[in-house]
Amino acid sequence: MALLEVRDLTKRFGGLVAVDRVSFDVEEGSIFSVIGPNGAGKSTMFKLITSFLFPTSGRVTFAGEKITYLPAHVIARKGVVRTFQETAIFKEMTVLDNVVVAHHLRSRATTLGFFFGTRQARSDEASFRENAAEILDNLGLGHVSYERARNLPHGYLRGLGISIAMAAKPRLLLLDEPFAGMTFEETWQTVERVRAVRDRGVTVLLVEHDMQTVMRISDRIMVLNFGKKIAEGAPAEIQRNEAVVEAYLGREDEQLGI
């Protein structure tokens, strides 16, 4: 049984079918990428899985449990955590504090306990701090722990976003265009981060444009075009796939001289 199973997922906006009966599986511990030309339905698919949009029809199953139509925060607690383009919770706070706060916000421990028990609160704070530091070190951000979040360059900001998501203890991490707007070096750092996340046992699903990086990092790739799945497989297969090439580059047409 795959960690994430998507069956016939469809989303209609009036007459426009943004996602058209897409089905796929994501195996636990793998890195699964969704690519496709602009307007293919990747972002919509992303929002459908994380419940930021509800599907018109279809089913999403996570760890054997049906999660379609559950509210976004509920499935986040179940372990399906997403990242965003804009990341830091508190721009004025340091990187470390951002990840610590993420622990606090997510912690289910009684608010009343925080009201009274100072010792408990302090030990909570200490363990959150330790965990946060570990996450940041693991993702290569340890050296900017005390920098204010708003001073971070773009690459580190996205790294912080992943760290915050990791504080929520995900089983499946969904990355929204993680390589967008990155320099060559930042891309490489992000690739290392995604691998580090996978090595910690978190399954990764990412939506992306940057074909080269996707080919390098993914275990499996799915290609969407006009809302439909047109190919799925290992990177090597996808690169050779005619339908994929056609989707990106168009078909040869002798009459038009293309």
């Binding site: 930021f52 925060h73 955590v81 965003f84 340091t94 916000l105 997510r106 608010t111």
Partner: protein, 356 residues
């Protein structure tokens, strides 16, 4: 990983700071609750001004709470009116004691707030401000057209003064008709403000406060890590409306009457203004703002000719907007005092000091 010596030193500094902080707070509470009433016992006007400013601060604290989840609330006047009418109706129609009517008014206002909030809190920015503004008007009109139940335009003109309150035979509050009314209402206002502030301050520095602030910064991000943002939005709004209801109830009792024009759109705007003036980043912001502005206006109306008053108000408003956009408290204040008053900064400061 932590430096042991720095740890101990930081802890010691924190302890002394904590002691100083509690001393300051205790002094201010003593001043407010005990000394002022004694000194001004016969200066009824002063007592009334301070009492009114106190309850206006209380109402504004509610608005501050909605600011802390990132919403501009211009509907607090409506909820104050709901509180006032609830008290008036409970006391005059059914002869219920003020000490039951007071919490009931808060709770009823909160319930309305929760019901409405479920619908409107998904709006943000200008749209939320507009709809809450309309709410103030709608509430006023509702009470205007309430027929004999709410008394129409003249409202409910004769509300009895609060009676005594005793628990288990011990008299906590004397009968308001038998003591210096102004003094009694001042004490009530002071207690309400101290309790109200205490609760909001504690919320603000607790986990719930951090959740509220995360909602203000980025609601989607909070959702993505598992926070039920609807629940917390409604909670904040509900508490805000509770404070509005309590404030309205006080004014109904203090003025012994309630009518639709008591709280209107301009009052709603003022409550938000008090928060802005004091400084949105600080829990004491609305209190500072309300006291400063209200006392300012009282002085103005006493000393400046009628025809120049509007001009003076406008000039003050503009000056504030130009030179104090972040509020009075954003001016350089003694760091140790501001550091402890600032919502939530304590945890961050302390932690930062121990790990550097």
């Amino acid at each position: 990983m932590t430096d042991r010596i720095a740890d101990v030193q930081a802890h010691e500094t924190n302890s002394t700071r904590a002691v100083i902080k509690w001393l300051v707070v205790a002094t201010m509470v003593a001043l407010y609750l005990i000394i002022i009433p004694i000194v001004f016992a016969d200066r009824l006007y002063v007592l009334r001004v301070l009492a009114t400013a106190s309850v206006l601060s209380l109402i504004s604290l509610g608005v501050w709470l909605t600011f802390s989840i990132g919403r501009i609330n211009l509907g607090q006047g409506g909820f104050a009116l709901i509180g006032g009418y609830t008290t008036a109706i409970l006391m005059t129609h059914w002869g219920i004691s003020y000490w039951l009517a007071l919490p009931a008014s808060g709770i009823l206002a909160a319930l309305f707030g929760i019901l409405l909030g479920l619908g409107i809190l998904r709006l943000r920015g200008v749209y939320f401000a507009m709809i809450t503004l309309s709410l103030t008007e709608a509430v006023r009109l509702a009470f205007l057209s309430g027929g004999s139940f709410t008394g129409g335009a003249p409202g409910i003109p004769v509300i009895p003064l609060p009676g005594p309150l005793s628990v288990l035979g011990l008299s906590i509050v004397p009968d308001f008709t038998r003591v210096n009314g102004h003094l009694a209402f001042y004490r009530l206002a002071a207690v309400l403000l101290i309790l109200g502030f205490g609760v909001v301050w504690r919320i603000s520095t607790s986990r719930v406060g951090w959740i509220f602030r995360s909602l203000q910064q980025n609601e989607d991000l909070s959702t993505s890590i598992g926070i039920n943002i609807t629940k917390y939005r409604v909670l904040a709004f509900g508490i805000c409306c509770f404070y509005g209801g309590i404030g309205g109830s006080y004014f109904a009792a203090a003025q012994q009457s309630i009518y639709p024009a008591v709280f209107g759109v301009s009052d709603s705007v003022f409550f938000a203004l008090y928060c802005f003036l004091g400084g949105l980043a600080y829990v004491v912001g609305p209190i500072v703002g309300a006291f400063v502005l209200f006392i300012c206006f009282e002085l103005l109306s006493a000393n400046v000719a009628q025809e120049y008053q509007q001009f003076a108000y406008a000039a003050i408003m503009i000056a504030i907007m130009l030179w104090l956009p972040d509020g009075i408290l954003s001016l350089r204040a003694p760091r140790w005092l501001v550091g402890r008053l600032r919502a939530g900064a304590t945890a961050v400061d302390a932690a930062q000091r121990t790990t550097r």
